[in-house]
């Protein structure tokens, strides 16, 4: 797969199927995730894009009756994230996630960002301080919260909470960062801040983002995948997908005739 001309891959779905009990939610998905790029997943509600996203950090393992089939290869070590022998906790140590609704823990701003570091056993106060500061700066929220690190995170505004959640995910240096409609609960200004942030973050980390907002996909992503009814209809460079989609269904969705 990794030919000299193609950009490096961070992950790749191969013949990936997913089942909620007996219901097949994802059908034979094959798709590359390019390293240090933003890949957007678009499609109408219920098309399986969130289901697909949540497979990358094995979130489906939390609920009984879910089943994966096929592979999600993770590079450079070429691990199959879905292999039965792979511990979902190990996967989540490498893959961060930001959710649809900001979900800061009922702790201080500092402890929220330090959470993942503490989970990984970091006890050194100096290291914690440094990494928390770096993560908050990385999430463009440091200036707003540096004087209230001990305040409850739940007292921040919605947009600040979401950037705090991004800082929380960044603090542990994930290799892949999953965004599940991260701006759907935010106002336009907070949305703009998050989009700008996503754009900056791809210098450091590979990003996979689910969005309902096609302008957002066009603005922030390098690659776009259109999904429909659990299938991957079309995948390509974002410009190509939006300017000259190959599939009629993609075109209908993008031009607003469907969905």
């Amino acid at each position: 797969m990794q030919t000299a001309s193609a950009p490096a891959l961070k992950a790749e779905a191969r013949n990936f199927n997913f089942f909620y009990g007996d219901v097949q939610a994802l059908k034979n998905i094959n798709m590359p995730i390019h390293d240090k790029k933003v890949t957007a997943l678009i499609g109408p509600s219920g098309c399986g894009k969130s289901t697909y996203l949540r497979s990358f950090n094995r979130m489906h393992d939390l609920y009984p009756g879910n089943r994966y089939e096929g592979e999600i290869r993770f590079y450079p070590d070429n691990t199959n994230l879905l292999a039965p022998g792979v511990d979902p906790i190990e996967v989540r140590m490498r893959v961060g996630m930001v959710f649809q609704k900001p979900n800061p823990f009922p702790k201080s701003v500092f402890e929220n960002v330090a959470y993942g570091l503490r989970v990984r056993g970091e006890k050194n106060r100096r290291a914690l301080d440094d990494k928390v500061e770096a993560a908050l700066k990385g999430a463009a929220i440091w200036d707003e919260v540096k004087d209230r690190l001990q305040d409850l995170a739940t007292n921040l505004s919605g947009g600040q909470q979401q950037r705090l959640c991004i800082a929380r995910a960044l603090a542990t240096d994930p290799e892949l960062l999953l965004f599940d409609e991260p701006t759907s609960a935010l106002d336009p200004i907070a949305t703009g801040a998050i989009e700008e942030l996503v754009h900056e973050l791809k210098q450091r980390v590979t990003i996979l983002i689910v969005t309902h907002n096609m302008q957002q996909a066009a603005r922030v992503s390098d690659y776009t995948a259109y999904m429909y009814l659990g299938e991957m209809i079309e995948f390509g460079k974002t410009d190509d997908i939006f300017i000259k989609p190959q599939d009629k269904r993609t075109e209908d969705y993008i031009t607003g005739r469907m969905g």
């Binding site: 939390l62 009984p64 906790i89 989540r92 609704k101 823990f105 009922p106 959470y115 990984r120 995910a169």
Partner: protein, 316 residues
């Protein structure tokens, strides 16, 4: 729009009250009746409380006309029925507090651990079976628990502590704790299950284990509910009567040692109330003074609970 407006007021005639409005008025009357009934039901419970407080306070006033409050609070003996009568309520308070402390030392850790297990670890089938059974434990009459303490737990404890007397605060307190576990566990579990799944998902997504998620995210998020369950447990312990009357002995004894027998406020009241004290005598009035003290203690804990709940209420 115009057609509707015209049909509402007939041309030329004075506007009439539509029958729709009349029906509204009828409904209003029946709602008044229902409202009054509901208010009456609520008033009964409030008035009962007011009545109880009134009786306690008025009888206690008679008592405090004979015994000074300073003596009541500082005397180290409680011998209201002796010729040389002493009225040191601390004697009974010590028994109440020691037995409650023993009970809570059992009920709060066990209840919390059970709640964490049921809410975060048990699979749904286990939970559906285990929780009703647990709650059944709360339905066992306390007199049964009392004899369980006296006839089973005390002899067992005596194998470990040979010097333990036949009646002790330790034995009664332990069993009282077991009795309270279901209340604490059930309410704590409700509080933890009310923590939104999105918080747990956030914690798992950071790579935490189940235990780490439970202890570092779910428990802090549910803390106000946990505090409420603990306060309920305390109230149950302070107010519990039969277990202590049966298994703790009834002799007034100013002690902070759970290995000793002692009377509590409640077991004293039961003991005296069963006797044949003449109405209006000082011994009779001690019941009310003791009852008022008990009421104030539970009130104190309830206020503390309210405060904790407000202080730690989470907006997820």
């Amino acid at each position: 729009m115009n057609a509707y407006a015209m049909s509402a007021s007939p041309p030329g005639g004075a506007p009439v009250v539509s029958d729709r409005l009349a029906r509204n008025a009828m409904r209003h009357a029946s709602e008044r009746v229902i409202e009054t009934l509901l208010f009456a039901a609520a008033a009964v419970s409030v008035l009962t409380t007011v009545g109880i407080v009134y009786v306690l306070v008025s009888e206690s006033i008679h008592f405090f006309q004979n015994v000074s409050i300073v003596d009541f609070l500082t005397d180290t003996q409680w011998t209201p029925l002796f010729d040389d009568a002493h009225f040191g309520i601390m004697v009974l308070i010590s028994g109440t507090l020691v037995s409650s402390a023993v009970a809570l030392a059992v009920a709060i850790p066990m209840g919390t651990v059970i709640a964490i297990y049921l809410s975060e670890f048990a699979n749904p089938k286990v939970r559906e079976v285990a929780k009703p059974i647990l709650e059944l434990l709360g339905g066992i009459p306390t007199i049964v628990f009392g004899y369980f303490a006296l006839l089973i737990v005390t002899p067992l404890l005596q194998k470990i502590f040979p010097e333990l007397p036949g009646f002790s605060l330790l034995s009664a307190g332990l069993v009282m704790g077991i009795m309270i576990v279901p209340y604490v566990a059930s309410l704590s579990e409700d509080a933890m299950r009310a923590v939104p799944m999105s918080l747990r998902e956030g914690a798992y997504a950071m790579g935490s284990t189940r235990l780490y998620t439970a202890l570092h995210v779910v428990v802090p998020a549910a803390f106000s509910g946990l505090a409420a369950s603990y306060i309920l447990g305390i109230s149950r312990a302070v107010g519990e009567t039969m277990i202590l009357a049966v298994a703790a002995g009834m002799q007034p004894n100013l002690t902070w040692n759970p290995m000793e027998p002692a009377a509590t406020i409640t077991s004293y009241i039961v003991q005296v109330a069963l006797g044949d004290l003449p109405h209006g005598s000082i011994g009779y009035q001690t019941i009310f003074a003791a009852g008022l003290t008990l009421l104030l203690i539970t009130l104190l804990f309830n206020i503390l609970g309210q405060w904790l709940r407000r202080r730690f209420r989470e907006n997820y």
